[in-house]
């Protein structure tokens, strides 16, 4: 559900993204029978406005990283389109040269921060060399300018200028992730896809990196697609959050709205699963049972059916669509999208269908 205004102004727009992966064959030894397909991402749409940070949360296997990979053009979507600054990626209608140009434009304006900072830095190249690399790739050769830009980027992430001559193994975990952020910043991109940027770091360093990302957004007006399973981190950095479950977005709302009024039972369960840092204090509701069903054979109804505490006959027949929910008649109410037949606060519908 994207408004007309967002259509034109959005920095990035994903339109009904689908990505399937080939799995092994069925039958004896996996040799016979039809090839099976996993729909890792099944119709995901969202948009990111300039200067906005969208969080994408969900458990492992929900397809959030696959979405990130499609946005950053590491893999092609099976169906659906990605628009960056209103221009479509992988547009087959364009001639090859133009498509390559578009890709260069994207590579310059969209950077990716990966999960493991130690793994994404080349152990044999000096940090400064690696931070300069994106600029070099985009044709910058002037050594003085490169050096200056590297120093700038290092300063921006709170690292000392002479870190440039060090090698990754000489840096601490937090410093490495800062260096990775500096490398992402050097082309002055408009969007950074952060794929679990804090998962591999220990808690004190997580806070550093999260604060750094938040500060950068405030200072430079950069946008993020923030993929994480850590709700606390998402809450600190993001403006809006989309919750994914088994390849679909089940709920999307501004961050405060989502945390204060979760509508989808899955979101609610996620929030309640977040540990409360008070000894002895436990969440009252029982935790979610079971595991997400296999993406290999998805049933027609709601995907959350088997684990949902409020599942109903209608959920078995009909998959709910992502649509806007209203609690009042005011127009100032934040846009809150949810894919559930019986959302939390929409008691009227719930009661009605019970009777």
């Amino acid at each position: 559900m994207i408004t007309e205004q967002e259509h034109t102004n959005a920095l990035l727009r994903a339109d009904n993204l689908v990505r399937t992966f080939q799995a092994g064959r069925e039958g004896l030894f996996g040799l016979f029978g039809p090839r099976r397909e996993v729909r890792a991402v099944d119709g995901v749409s969202f948009s990111i406005m300039p200067g906005e940070a969208l969080g994408l949360v969900g458990e492992s296997g929900s397809g959030k990283s696959t979405v990130g990979n499609m946005i950053s053009a590491q893999i092609l979507p099976t169906e659906g389109e990605v628009y960056f600054e209103g221009r479509r990626l992988h547009d087959e209608a364009l001639p090859r040269v133009r498509r390559r140009e578009e890709m260069r434009h994207l590579r310059r304006n969209l950077q990716v921060i990966f999960q493991d900072p130690a793994g994404t830095l080349n152990p044999r190249l000096a940090i400064g060399e690696q931070i300069a690399e994106p600029l070099r790739i985009h044709g910058e050769k002037d050594a003085r300018l490169l050096k200056q830009r590297v120093a700038e980027a290092l300063l921006q992430v709170g690292l000392n200028e002479d870190m440039a001559s060090r090698y990754p193994h000489e840096l601490s975990g937090g410093q490495r992730q800062r260096a990775v952020v500096a490398r992402a910043l050097i082309t002055r991109p408009k969007l950074i896809v952060c794929d679990e940027p804090t998962s591999a770091l220990d808690v004190s360093i997580q806070a550093q990196v999260v604060n750094l990302l938040g500060d950068l957004k405030a200072k430079t007006g950069i946008s993020y697609l923030f993929i994480s399973h850590n709700l606390g981190v998402v809450r600190t950095v993001c403006d809006r959050v989309a919750v994914m479950y088994l390849g679909r977005v089940v709920e999307e709302a501004p961050v405060d709205e989502l945390f204060s009024h979760p509508e989808h039972p899955y979101t609610r369960a996620l929030l309640e699963a977040n540990p409360i840092p008070v000894p002895g204090l436990r969440s009252q509701t029982p935790p979610l049972r079971g595991e997400p069903p296999s993406p290999l054979d998805v049933q027609p109804g709601c995907r959350f059916l088997e684990r949902c505490p409020r599942a109903h006959e209608r959920c078995r027949r009909l998959a709910p669509e992502l649509k806007r929910i209203r609690r009042s008649r005011t127009f100032s109410e934040p846009v809150h999208l949810v894919a559930c037949h019986y959302p939390e606060t929409d008691r009227s519908v719930f009661q009605e269908s019970l009777s």
Partner: protein
């Protein structure tokens, strides 16, 4: 001399075209002790040159210079015969002429040795360089293209590995005649399959690493990924392979020259001299001992140097 050979070796094996921007600072030992931990951490310990490495490097450098200035250093020409003084032992063993004695045609062995060093080093070095370049490029190609290109290159590798290379070399040289250029080209085919196999495997495992994916997402071209990002990570293995391939090429050149299909007389090489001396081993051992000793020392020096270079080029071990 030491420095010259080292920098030559480094330049040859590490194409650091633009990596000099951020070279690490080397802090001397005699600077005032800095108490801040951060600065201390930054200081690289001074480079150590083990005695054996220095000896090997000096030896190779001396040989290189000997080869380069063979004309000036040699007391006689490599083909100058003095039949009156044939099979004379070295002067320090009571011989009539020649610091290292003379051979069956009365040619001065020292002079011939100097020219042989020139030819052998040239052939072995150029051959190994060709083989390394060829193998590395094909290995990268196989790792990058996958599919039938990979299959085809792997087939070539298996073919090369399963055929005795001396046979292939003999066939080529017998059919196409013999010239120094062709001979070096044939030497360049020696051992390329080991470079290719190493490179392919290492490049494939490196491709799966995060840093390669990261530069790929930045839009780096495959050439840039392979030569700037992956090559420095696998260069250690290639250097060691280079130092193993170099002596093996020296030996191959020797066997081919010995069989009469390599360096043609009166020009000579270490292997050719060794071969010539074989018939006189009982009563004129000095003919083959001198080139044999040089071959042995070249092989040893190259291996020691290579082992040390591999450790030096890995910043995580520094």
């Amino acid at each position: 001399m030491n420095n010259a050979s080292e920098s030559a070796a480094t330049a040859m094996t590490t194409p650091r075209s633009d990596a000099s921007l951020f070279s690490p600072k080397h802090c001397g030992m005699n600077t005032e002790p800095d108490l801040s931990e951060d600065e201390d951490f930054h200081c690289k310990p001074p480079v150590r040159y083990p005695l054996l490495v220095v000896a090997g490097a000096v030896f190779l450098a001396v040989l290189f210079l000997c080869g380069l200035f063979a004309e000036q250093l040699a007391p006689a020409g490599y083909a100058a015969q003095d039949l009156a003084a044939r099979l004379s032992p070295p002067v320090w063993l009571g011989g009539k002429s020649g610091l290292l004695g003379t051979d069956f045609l009365g040619r001065d062995i020292l002079s011939r040795l100097l020219y042989a060093i020139r030819i052998s080093l040239l052939v072995a070095f150029a051959g190994t360089l060709i083989s390394c370049t060829l193998g590395t490029t094909l290995g990268f190609l196989a790792a990058h293209k996958k599919g039938w290109v990979d299959e085809f290159i792997m087939m070539l590798i298996d073919f090369q590995a399963s055929m005795p290379f001396v046979l292939i070399a003999l066939a080529i040289l017998a059919f196409l005649g013999n010239s120094l250029g062709l001979f070096i080209a044939v030497m360049g085919l020696n051992g390329w399959e080991r470079f290719a196999r190493f490179t392919r495997g290492l490049a494939r495992s490196a491709s799966a690493r995060g840093y390669v994916n990261a530069v790929r997402v930045m839009g780096a071209s495959p050439l840039r990924i392979y030569f700037k990002h992956i090559l420095p990570n696998i260069i250690g293995v290639l250097i060691v392979q280079f130092t193993l391939n170099f002596p093996s090429t020296v030996l191959l050149e020797s066997s081919l020259s010995f069989l009469g299909l390599g360096i043609q007389p009166p020009l000579t090489s270490l292997g050719a001299m060794l071969g010539e001396g074989r018939n006189y081993l009982i009563n004129a051992w000095w003919i083959s001992v001198a080139p044999g000793a040089v071959i042995f020392c070249v092989t040893l020096s190259a291996c020691i140097l290579g082992d040390w270079l591999r450790d030096r080029l890995d910043p995580t071990l520094r």
